[in-house]
Subunit: 287 residues, 4 copies
């Protein structure tokens, strides 16, 4: 029997009866709720709900179709925003890198051990250096060079490539180019970036140098959705690790790599499991 | 208007329709769910649910009475286990100490700033040493000495005292006596203890000495419900902190105190907010 | 016999032979090195050394006098900067607070248990609210109100009070007034502050509100020496703790208090043990 | 010019003058101390010292020879134990694995980026599964199957292989076989293991299952030197990460892998930089 599980994400202004009506609908469709996590924003009263449920009699696709038909009729006085996902569908992600391989290798290694709920459709780089490391994983590696002069053309080529690869989510695994606002507007699918500082501290270039100069006693890493404003998009995951006066910029860089790897993997995993919702430039990350 | 909020904890074997029926009942009683957290045990399929809800028209006490009447009729084929709490009721806790004051002072300090959702009914010690530190908080301090010979009598006196104080939860804040099985069976209300190690490592006496001898690179603290088997009850909260070869047993003890304080406060707070359920010697701690 | 231990801090440009000559001098004075920690700045080659040593035949004061006479003669071609401390001398600290008591209570509680290597000479506040909590510790409590109009006069009164108290180090334990540049220049002894964010993120007012608005997944606390530029002095200690979308500003504030307490205590302790050296707006914190 | 840096590790009973005499000797040989870290055991007064120094006029090999000649003459009344290392010599390590690749891939990835101060001489496994992942790194992969019946023969083959590879340190990167006492006695070079629990909790098989059954709120990982008693050798590095009631054994296993990777890399790195000394089944790990 095909998968009978599905995920329902609901986002709307709070009002009485949402849980009762939606869970009643699911029950009437012979579905059992396996996991339910709900949150209401304390400032504007917005309501968020993630439900993992299982049909007891039909395939996920059939239940999803029924729900898509029934949900608009539940509330006549407000717009219910919802998304339905078949967890059996594996999202297609593309990893972008430059010359540093640690985040890419970690994601490929997790993919290889079946830990990542996604297909890695390709690795794309602005440099050819990492081709050899990708090869044993059997994943295509493309080079799209970026120079000061060819950026619009390179981004155009990137979009075409992503479309040909049917990419769902783009993961910047220490990709050292800034994607333009034009690209982001044209692409408009999720882009996850790893920034090597505890944002909002040390925005921009050379954050470990900045951290060293300020004499901080912790360094951090931040995974966030990319928006037009540099390093200012909704934060998905963060972590820090202690450092001391003995740590040079090179040592901070080395220690930071371990953070970047774990923080990016945490964010990608939460995103792929549909546990992340964005609202007013912040994220709700269900457990 | 009196408080209209209440907490409902449900625990039962999983089956379809629990969320639909219970949320439907709440909706029919004009209640709005503010926060809902649900968990199903992956091994035995037991279902746990914590709901914070608000009546839109009546006081909490009235709604609680109605729910107590209605919930038994929801399922005819299984025993639903539930508890209802009025968050406006402040539990009465008693803090037990010996000679070390750090955990006690922290709880009293939090109580003083309104951070603890409870009344501290008294501090009870087997030594008179800490009386002076308790005085400015305006909380009664009782001494019940315990010797090798008088233990049953002392525990009898303790039970009488706790009953006179209408104590709901007993908090052992580095109380250095072991409560007997006879006491626990007679008392049968929650007892929370802070153990100064990362259990199950270093059960029993002098855990920092044990940790030093083993040469660990982290020390820990564990808050747990007390059961008859020493240091083996359900764990509510744990934390660790790094140590090095430079740390003597005295240094481990000093560093550990900071952990104990935070871990005990975390556990007491979760317990008082009805976020902790015990199941098969483990806890579910809702966020 | 009086204490025979002393601490020697050395700071100078690096050159061959410093360790050989100084340790040779100590040996010739019949002193044994108990703990030695050395660091050389990777950027400007500055040399830092902390030595805890013990005289085998004389009191600390005598050895300190001999060293003060001999050290200038060791190097003729460079200026050796050194400081000598008798660890038996207990620094006199003054704690400044406003209305929040958590950091103050923690320091007083540590002082009470003998954990702080200092005398708490007084607590000074711009509000009378915390007087009662200080009383059982037997420590003087002074109120120096600060308004928009009286600030220079209030700071003058503060300096007089600190001098009368023979204060060595001032600890701002959530003191909500900014000390002026005039005060700092007049006072010129160490001032340690706890800032309730992971600096340099969220400088200035209401950092927990700033953190909430940015949607960070960790909050932090920073203890630093106070300099004229707000929140920009040398950092002594920092820590972070995870937060989620469920945490309101009030929850961040509550969680942050636990961090502030530990970070401030860590910094004060390191400072009192002469383990902190400042260099180019950063600190060396020997373990 | 060849490398002029060397590392000197000293371990002996404490007595006055060690630092003065050794640093005087280094100075007389025209060497400058770059980094010096010293520790004296608080229980038995044993003295440990790690010195990184630089010759100002000769190659490391020449200075090491001179020191090996001079050090025995420094003290006539006690046995000074010392070791001298040329940091330019790259140790040869062999990585042993079974079927899980995460620790191996991490070490190979670090090696590839020049972060590991060692040559990876080979990967040896009791299964052929990981051969393909090792290939792009250009490192030999050997299979030595182990069955219940052939263990002594397999271990004999392993020793021969290690000798042929001129292996200095053996790293068990989730190698699921227990090395016998016979092997360890015959091999007598360092063996570093990663154990997937916070030792001494959960010694032996299936630690994540044990952790789940006990209901802990943190899981850990421990890197230690292998001794004959299972999971009881000197601990080099440990770390923990929070878990909740939602985490199944599979989730604990997944989360734990991230810990194992970092803890093993930390331990291997410290070991290769000669920052680890063992004493009475504990380690001194200099920073």
């Amino acid at each position: 029997m095909p998968s009978a599980r599905a995920i329902l994400l609901i986002s709307c202004p709070d009002r009485p009866g949402i849980i009762a009506r939606v869970s009643g609908l699911l029950y009437s469709l012979d579905c059992n709720i396996i996991d339910s996590d709900q949150h209401t924003d304390d400032e504007d009263g917005h309501f968020f709900w993630r439900i993992l449920f299982e049909s007891r009699s039909r395939a996920a696709a059939a239940v999803i179709a029924e729900l898509n038909a029934a949900l608009p009729t539940l509330f006549t006085d407000m717009a219910l925003h919802w998304e339905l996902f078949d967890p059996a569908y594996r999202e297609r992600i593309v990893i972008m890198v430059s010359k540093l391989h640690h985040c890419m290798m970690d994601l490929l290694s997790r993919h290889h051990s079946g830990e990542l709920d996604a297909e890695v459709a390709a690795v794309i780089s602005n440099h050819p250096d990492l081709a050899q490391l990708v090869r044993p994983f059997g994943i295509p590696f493309y080079v799209i060079p970026v120079t000061r002069d060819n950026k619009p053309r390179a981004e155009g080529e990137l979009i075409e490539r992503l479309q040909a690869l049917r990419c769902d989510t783009l993961v910047l695994a220490r990709y050292m180019q800034i994607l333009s606002g034009d690209f982001l507007r044209a692409w408009h699918k999720p882009v996850i970036n790893i920034h090597h500082s505890f944002l909002p501290a040390f925005v921009g270039a050379r954050p470990y140098k900045q951290a060293h100069d300020r004499g901080v006693k912790l360094i951090g890493a931040t995974a966030h959705y990319v928006t037009e404003e540099l390093d200012a998009g909704p934060i998905i995951a963060q972590a820090t690790t202690p450092v001391t006066h003995r740590d040079t910029v090179a040592e901070l860089t080395r220690k930071g790599k371990d953070l970047e790897v774990v923080v990016l993997a945490t964010a990608v995993r939460a995103h792929l499991q549909k546990r992340v919702l964005s609202h007013r430039n912040r994220t709700i990350v269900f457990e």
